[in-house]
Assembly symmetry: C2
Homo-oligomer: 200 residues x 2
């Protein structure tokens, strides 16, 4: 399925995965979609239906060298991935600032805290302090369950791990304090339905 | 002056300019700083002083090829600049979602509308509709004056230009309906002082 912008241009998702040499950006059906791809399509749907304006930020890149071939586009010939200092997703929903990070785990019963960075945890604390909504979305790939969990839980586990506590968040935490996100055809990951319930 | 993160790491600004082969990201004094660099330092100051959480988004890059040298970081060897579908800056301030685009003009009396893209104008309309604060920051480099102007004015000039109207926004518009932003040592571009006045 190709999703189109209001101006008729096909939707090119911003997914640029380490290890994938290239992708055209066109979304083909629902075969082997990653959490990130599904969220991009869901966010596009929310925008098209005027429910929210939430985007994934581009991957931060450190550019070292750019070539300028005659009569064609500038070509980056040397660049490196950089670590993000914020979360990947932000935007506005029902007048509120929304901010979240999304991760997959292949482990059946937990997600390692190393999936997140200190800067991201600090960023989400700031967001909450300034009146925004902050959470994480975690997909347990073995069961394809996707949970929304308020970022305060991540912050608490983060602090505890610094003091010698466990280095992961158990799935039980998500089952007890998180919220299972309904998955449909459109939107594929209907996390705003959960946001309605939890934050409004 | 090097600005430091709370964790002691030096602040690396995310400025990646077409035409600059590289930059270390370290900010040296105030010599020949671009509007973007000054805004990055100002935003960092707002974060450090816990006034707001506003960032410039990374430049969107289409990655085509990545090399994986042994024992060193993944190296992007072919990539291209992409046009942003949103504005460059967003975040949260006093509980409100903030969204803006920043541009410089070398023209004394106007800024060409071609500095903006249709997607950005549409994006800012959506932001306003959902209860966010949207504006543009424009620097007239000949006089070093920097103005904040509500994004509705851009939207109106955009629509008019589509109907055959002028292809630029006159400086007089900024003087009549915009707000001159105070420039200091820290923050260099104190646009939140104007936001306080205009939106709260």
């Amino acid at each position: 399925m190709t999703v189109y912008y209001p101006n008729g241009q096909p939707f090119k998702n911003s997914f640029t995965s380490v290890g994938k040499a290239s992708d055209s950006g066109v979304v083909y059906g629902h075969r082997g979609m990653t959490l990130e791809e599904d969220l991009n399509v869901s966010n596009r749907y929310y925008i098209e239906t005027d429910q929210a304006v939430i985007y994934k930020k581009p991957t931060p890149i450190q550019i070292v060298h750019v070539d300028y071939p005659k009569r064609s586009a500038a070509k980056i010939t040397e660049a490196y991935f950089r670590k993000a200092s914020t979360t990947d997703y932000n935007g506005i929903y029902r007048g509120r600032y929304i901010d979240f990070e999304a991760k997959e785990t292949t482990h059946a019963h937990y997600i390692p805290l190393k999936n997140f960075h200190a800067h991201q945890v600090e960023h989400m604390k700031r967001i909450k302090r300034h009146g925004g909504i902050g959470f994480i979305i975690v997909k347990f790939t073995q069961t394809a369950e996707i949970f929304l969990l308020d970022s305060d839980y991540l912050a608490n586990y983060w602090v505890a791990s610094m003091k010698g506590g466990r280095k992961s968040m158990p799935k039980q935490l998500f089952m007890d304090h998180g919220h299972l996100i309904p998955q449909n055809y459109l939107p594929r990951i209907d996390y705003l339905r959960v946001v309605n319930k939890v934050y409004f």
